[in-house]
Symmetry: C2
Subunit: 508 residues, 2 copies
Amino acid sequence: MKLTVKLVDIGTREVLLNIEDARNIGVLAGDRVQILNEKTGVSVAAFLDTTTSIIPAGTVGIYRITNEKLGVDEQSSVEVRIADRPISLDFIRKKMDGLRLTKDETYAIIRDVVSEDLSPAELTAYVIACYINEMDMDEVEHLTRAMVDTGERLTFHTHPIVDKHSIGGVPGNKITLLVVPIIAASGLKIPKTSSRAITGAGGTADLMEVLAPVEFSATEVQKMTLKVGAAIVWGGSTNIAPADDHIIVQEYPFRIDARGQMIASVMAKKFAVGADIVVIDIPVGEHAKVPNIQEGRKLAREFIEIGERLNMHVECALTYGDSPVGRSIGPNLEVAEALRILEGGETPGSLLQKSLAIAGIALEMSGKAPRGTGTQLAKEILRSGAALKKFREIIEIQGGDASVTADDIVPGKYEFVVNAPASGYVIELNNKALISLARTAGAPHDRAAGILLHAKKGSRVEKGEPIFTLYAERAWRLQKAIEEGRTLMPVLVEGMLLDRVPHETTWV
Amino acid sequence: MKLTVKLVDIGTREVLLNIEDARNIGVLAGDRVQILNEKTGVSVAAFLDTTTSIIPAGTVGIYRITNEKLGVDEQSSVEVRIADRPISLDFIRKKMDGLRLTKDETYAIIRDVVSEDLSPAELTAYVIACYINEMDMDEVEHLTRAMVDTGERLTFHTHPIVDKHSIGGVPGNKITLLVVPIIAASGLKIPKTSSRAITGAGGTADLMEVLAPVEFSATEVQKMTLKVGAAIVWGGSTNIAPADDHIIVQEYPFRIDARGQMIASVMAKKFAVGADIVVIDIPVGEHAKVPNIQEGRKLAREFIEIGERLNMHVECALTYGDSPVGRSIGPNLEVAEALRILEGGETPGSLLQKSLAIAGIALEMSGKAPRGTGTQLAKEILRSGAALKKFREIIEIQGGDASVTADDIVPGKYEFVVNAPASGYVIELNNKALISLARTAGAPHDRAAGILLHAKKGSRVEKGEPIFTLYAERAWRLQKAIEEGRTLMPVLVEGMLLDRVPHETTWV
């Protein structure tokens, strides 16, 4: 059916038809229709919304994301018909039925994912099928390659290229801001793409954005890395392994991180930036993504195997994942904490130790340090000020202010100090509760929102001493976080009252 | 955040925010937000679309389906905030993890399904999880009860109430139009709710709509059944077991019909209309939903068990499902064929036999006929004209023209006769290909479109004799069906050329 275009600025891959035209074409809301740009011959599939009034019969509303591919003008003419069913739906069905997918089938699915030819529900079916019927290592390899081949890649002519990754789930894990400058200061190249927080209080990209822009093309990342040895950017804008972003969105409602897809997405990003040497940080603990050492080792072996299949040298570090890394959660607080260490200031144990260990592994793998001496070399690079100098070069080349210091980065002006309700040892810091609290306070969108821990697990506090401070940029957010904290009780002090029945819950 | 309402006539459960407001609230496109009608206190969750232009900051676009629950006026004020995550997502995750759901958990999910509080992707996850990790009989019972309790019910004070169901997948299965009048003419009550075609060429509701309106409330169905003993209506408008409609939509892209959900949805509809006696027609065959007798018996036992748990007496008939029932496919053609049998006219074997057998089982179960004589009684009711008289009463009470005859119902004016390309026996009638062809020709939307079979499986045809005729209401649809037929080859004659390489495929 020939229809006249009306452009509609709604950010989805949809079109809007009058219900009468939809009936004539034989489609219902939610169905897939094919739209042909008659001028260019470009044809795009999109999902259908229907209306009885805002689009008259004879007109089709083309939403923004649809028109990014279709490229039609207001009032131009398009042909709209029922779309063919993508063959990839049969492959998703196959995975639902417990069968293995071939390389070609996986590629067909991932191509449709990247071109947004699958609806959110259809993509969800793929994600869930792979979550329940776990992929084998061949399928993970195919998925990794498909993710690489459907996105941009960096090409370096000198080697080795180093990369690192933390699989996440631990709040305050700002080690990238220390590890990358240390590795680059040793003369190695490390083009680091990072994520923004989805479920967390601040991804590395959110943290780095406190100091400098983080949105660059793959080519720009390559150029910056060639110039100063490193970059710390948001992976989303590089278009490297873009399938992953789509998949993660569908996992989000169920709080799953399907093993095969997680391995593939990490390894695809490393492979696509041209990495030879990869260190993967696997936090292990009851409240982390990986619950125990056995599971951690199993996952490590799988990362290493996929690395071998793709000619990357992978080592994994199982790290302590049951409480926050360092003392801060939330963009500004975390950046200030990292900068302070680079500046040679106060050094909370867990953050410094973990950063030096991870950097040290990369230094050993690349031959910069003999086995067993990597941590020592990393420490020297930090102490010498070379890491701080390198970090400033990275900030500068990304367009930030290289003269920034830890003191320039301040927390939100609304704060609330939580004091110990009893004397005793801190017996629990609950990751999930701390992240939830930081998010309620506004992090990561409100960069100055977050949590500063004054006591850590195992430390002794006296009744009335501060245990942590909540920061927010907006008063109502602080208030909401305070209320949530009363329920979540993210910090437990041995001997404190957990609950007071029957009425109000006592919070630390 | 307080925002001013702009009503948007788009038929989805969404709202539209300016990207700036979305950032301030801390939500992304696709997220769930909660909207509070400040005048009434009604609060509704909806999914977010974003725009940079058509909705200014300070305003929220409320889509039609959202406003059906919210009930706000143009320019009124609403409070918009991040919505809480529905607890049912945790239960869906639990099913994904291979665990059994409790009764309460199933009820929580189905309540959210019916109130449309789950996104299509979230509902898909539930459907896929139950498809892969099959429900046990307890879970199926809970799902059945949850589907009943979240919809309308009929209450009859006389018993027994009879119902029948065909699990579908076989084209031309218009037996309900014969079975219901026969049963009602015997003095039994049978309030029959039916579906419209989703993947087929015409559901029973589409067929009945050729003769009379089919959209009634549950109360109206009850009244009509009390008056004339039966009604044949579209289940969708009765709001009986409405969860099923939502679930089916999500199964559609993958062409699945998850066993547990299918059993629950059938049995919920029977239970909700107050049925005591239920006959279930299970077509079995390579091209049907159930591939062989063993699978058919297993499914039958499960229907019977759920029936026992709900105090319904269930019997199942395994029927031949490998070719169409009768000789017609598509609303008008099927209705004419059924009417002709009721009028005592020509009687193609499969349709008449199957209808009498199914009706006979119900007559025996209800005590109207001794065991072994039900089919005979059904035949007598048909021959006496009592079934036709009853059918006319049903048509009349639903608002149709009771004087209608088979000759009044005509096929589409565009037709194409397909002749046998060789002499021999018809060795295959492909259900899926026939349905696809009838749909391409316009069925069920174009009621006069469809297929009339002149030869059936096993019959002898001579070269050049007609095998079937395609009908359409619109010339371009007929043309498209003819083209599709060349590829699908729905009818195979022994000895015919299946393909002619290299160029054009020869079609029967």
